[in-house]
Subunit: 226 residues, 2 copies
DNA sequence: CCTATTGGCTATTGACATTAGCCAATAGGG
DNA sequence: CCCTATTGGCTAATGTCAATAGCCAATAGG
């Protein structure tokens, strides 16, 4: 029996490729093994579990997406940077739908490698928005909004949620443009009665030690389960 | 052996409740059966398959969410309606995370019931945006942006993507407010070189018969696979 | 009361992840 | 070049799950 010459990385890379074809959720070890010309239990010489493989694919995807938007943003600022980064983000996601899915998985508590990878990616967004001179929580709000906009659009687009034959590129550009417009008035007071009168979720009272830096979301030390 | 008195609806309702607890994806028929005091195969007297059950939960969820935002919007218009609807949307999603997940599943081609349910829900959004007097594709763009914003934020929030201890309610309100700001300038020309120079996805050339009504996404007659 | 339907059940199958244990292919030191 | 330790493949077995087949008692309706 000649050896197949697998490595941990080749298994992860193959899984990522297949995830883009069928989705990571419905990708089986048997299918990966078959593509690699190997029997299913052999994979366990290179991975520890399916969950571990999923984590590895997720880490790979987060790094790739972070690199893609980082490359797009270098040398630009303001609306220019926002457009460039948004397009790079969407182009990568459409090219890698299976990987994209898992870029949003939050790191498990204590998974410092995953946490670091995520900060690095979100840091790019933080930097791109920096030219708008937002301070403290206003900056966090803007970063959250931008992430929401990008993720929501791509998520709906790749799942087939935009079924009408209206140009999706145009819709995307209009949305991003709208965001840049909103950013120019980001700090104006919100004049709306409903914005504070909420029925649920009023469980975040203003606390003493609120963090006001521009540290990206995803790194708050969580209370460990006692 | 006394009968448990199950019905199709009671099974679907129980599945929906449990989906909110553990997620629909990791909900097993064995777990549902146990909660209902019945053995796993007995469920097949009321459902046809796991996939069918998922579809039923998805339909239930779409109806409930559509009703929630519809109730919130009645009697309001403009930014008022947008805020009310957004809050209703988020409140419902947070209360029903498992159900919310599957509200975004696009209908299977030819599933007219699912399609109709989805149109009804999106129609509420269309109506709410109507007061901004957008025409044709501009309206479609705005609806897509609004759906993206809401879905992206809720998706990130419920999955734990906003880890910083910065008030999430505030971030949400700022985002929605930003959208209303953007809407007031929705039709202004987009002045950005990158908005047309894209690397991929340039595969939607302006076509002759583009639909320009305000029919919600999700109902385009798809080409049947020949 | 009688009978047809139906809603439970047990048993079985097949896909899947995972583990145990075997054995040949390699690598690296003599 | 050989010898041995490691290691990367394998088969076999277990447990969980969805799904199907077939049984039989509980109900419903005349």
């Amino acid at each position: 029996m000649p050896r197949a010459g697998l490595t941990r990385d080749s298994v992860v890379e193959t899984a990522a490729i297949m995830a883009d074809e069928v989705g990571l959720g419905s990708l089986t070890l048997a299918a990966i093994a078959e593509r690699l010309g190997v029997k299913q239990p052999s994979l366990y010489k290179h991975i520890d579990s399916l969950a571990g493989l999923h984590r590895s694919v997720s880490l790979l995807a987060k790094r790739e997406l972070g690199d893609a938007i980082s490359r797009a943003a270098v040398g630009r600022s303001g609306a220019d940077a926002i457009f460039a980064m948004s397009h790079a983000y969407r182009d990568w996601a459409i090219l890698h739908p299976g990987r994209y899915d898992v870029t949003q998985n939050p790191p498990a508590p204590g998974d410092v490698e995953d946490e670091a990878t995520m900060v690095a990616a979100i840091q790019v967004i933080t930097d791109v928005l920096a030219s708008y001179q937002l301070e403290g929580d206003d900056s966090i709000d803007a970063i959250r909004a931008f992430r929401s906009i990008l993720h929501g659009f791509i998520s709906l687009e790749t799942s087939g949620g935009f079924a009408l034959k209206v140009d999706i590129n145009r819709s995307f550009d209009r949305m991003i443009h709208g965001f840049t417009v909103a950013l120019t008035q980001w700090t104006e007071p919100i004049d709306h009665s409903l914005s504070s009168a909420r029925t649920q979720n009023a469980k975040t009272p203003p606390e003493a030690g609120v963090i006001s830096g521009v540290r990206p979301d995803g790194f708050e030390p969580r209370p460990s389960d006692p």
